[in-house]
Symmetry: C2
Subunit: 271 residues, 2 copies
């Protein structure tokens, strides 16, 4: 069966490099036989802010409104608002989701953060039991594809912005892998605004080439859920720590157990 791809796209301008990257993805993936859907967040005027209006009908506890709890119940009862429900339909059908955006302040633009906050509701995208390697979307793949304002050197482990792997951890582990997604290596377009046109063309060509086999790529490595002890605050089990006792590096960027970070573990598969 043909694969379905959802591109969640967050740039204001059809003339941007991000738009060109999105258009290239649509074209190449369609030519590979995929069906491709695009959520163009700015064009949709996607609501970024998590409010009680996201729930149809009464909220359970207006005085002590808790968004995560309220949307969990609303999802169970089919009372989430239409724009969230529609995005959830797209997520449910997708085999791969590509997030295409310009990096704003070491993260995604607010409109895309709003998509994460509002669409990935409890119950639909995760539960306390179903998360990480046992997550709800474990059969799906996801990938960040983004432009930076800074040069690659500035995001190296001795660059002024610090190691890009660190900056990627909250997004790739904390959002994508948390929901179970197999996280494909990010596609990083380093400072296209500073690059000459020829270089931008070259970057887009590399992207088009990658996309031809993107669905066969191996995902990044994360530590499986079974290594953590749910009885002890989800910390690594002693046997898991022991297994890594002679390793040079920590397990991942975040779960580093006081060791050096495994180089490029949030940037390349198989490291």
């Amino acid at each position: 069966m043909a694969s379905k791809v959802l591109i969640v796209y967050a740039h204001q301008s059809a003339g941007s490099f991000s738009a060109a990257a999105k258009d290239a993805a649509v074209e190449v993936l369609k030519s590979q036989g995929c069906s491709v859907e695009v959520s163009d967040l700015y064009a949709m005027k996607f609501k970024a802010t998590a409010t009680a209006e996201d729930i149809t009908g009464e909220v359970k506890n207006a005085e002590h409104f808790c968004y995560a709890e309220e949307t969990k119940v609303a999802w169970e009862e089919g009372r989430l608002c239409a724009d969230i429900t529609e995005e959830q339909r797209k997520v449910k059908e997708a085999d791969l989701i590509v997030f295409q955006f310009p990096m704003y302040w070491f993260s995604v633009p607010a409109i895309l953060k709003g998509w994460f906050d509002r669409v990935l509701t409890q119950g639909f995208a995760y539960t306390q039991e179903k998360r990480y390697s046992q997550g709800i979307f474990e059969k799906k793949k996801a990938m960040l594809s983004f432009t930076t304002g800074s040069m690659e050197t500035e995001f190296s482990p001795n660059g002024i912005n610090g190691d890009m792997n660190v900056t990627l951890w909250p997004l790739q582990n904390g959002i994508l892998h948390y929901c179970g997604f197999q996280v494909l290596a990010p596609q990083i377009f380093w400072a296209p605004a500073l690059a000459p046109p020829k270089c931008r063309t070259y970057m887009l060509e590399g992207w088009r080439t990658r996309l031809q086999d993107v669905l066969k790529e191996k995902p990044l490595s994360f530590t499986p859920m079974c290594c953590f002890d749910s009885e002890k605050g989800f910390q690594l089990k002693p046997e898991a720590i022991e297994k890594y006792a002679n390793k040079e590096f920590g397990l991942t960027v975040g779960i580093h157990i006081g060791r050096p970070l495994p180089p490029n573990s949030q940037m390349k598969a198989g490291v």
Copy 2:
């Protein structure tokens, strides 16, 4: 002269723990003689999304709209929209900014990300030359104060969510320190929703106690700008690397030069 404090507050409900933390801050800081201003983002229906509407009058390049470039020019020409200008006035006057929010997806809620994206415009908050330890707000302090959904153990260096210091890096280094702010240790309220009422009271008491001397606190340590070579892509100068050659840890979470991360460097001052 009395200190001015701005609290940027991002919770939907006046009955929340976040609201109680914000109210405690207002009360204690006022009793210390500070003047306190609150930006209650949900109550203000603060616009989260960065769009061309943030600029009054013509944009420079509608076809290739670039938010950072357009808002830089608009700021220089006094053509940013009223809500951004008003938040910039508050920032300009503040000696300390406290960001009070519930952590959503390992980061700030979209409405607060929108505040960062829209208020901290180029020229006003940073330039290519004036950033980090030479940043525009070097005389100001800033602090994250937030609740988590997960327990503290889950955010330890061998916990399933990974080291909280890693998750804080993009926010504290990438946004606050980038603009020059002296970053005070974060105030983390671990999973108040899971805690009994007595424990929540205890957490708030600790916060009130801290606030009494908060303006005298030493900030977190970051690597000064002078250690980086602007001619070589802002990487650490050889003499800076050499200076740290015998140290056990990297300089910071992000600038770790392949060493173990300095423990708690994003959580405590003086480490």
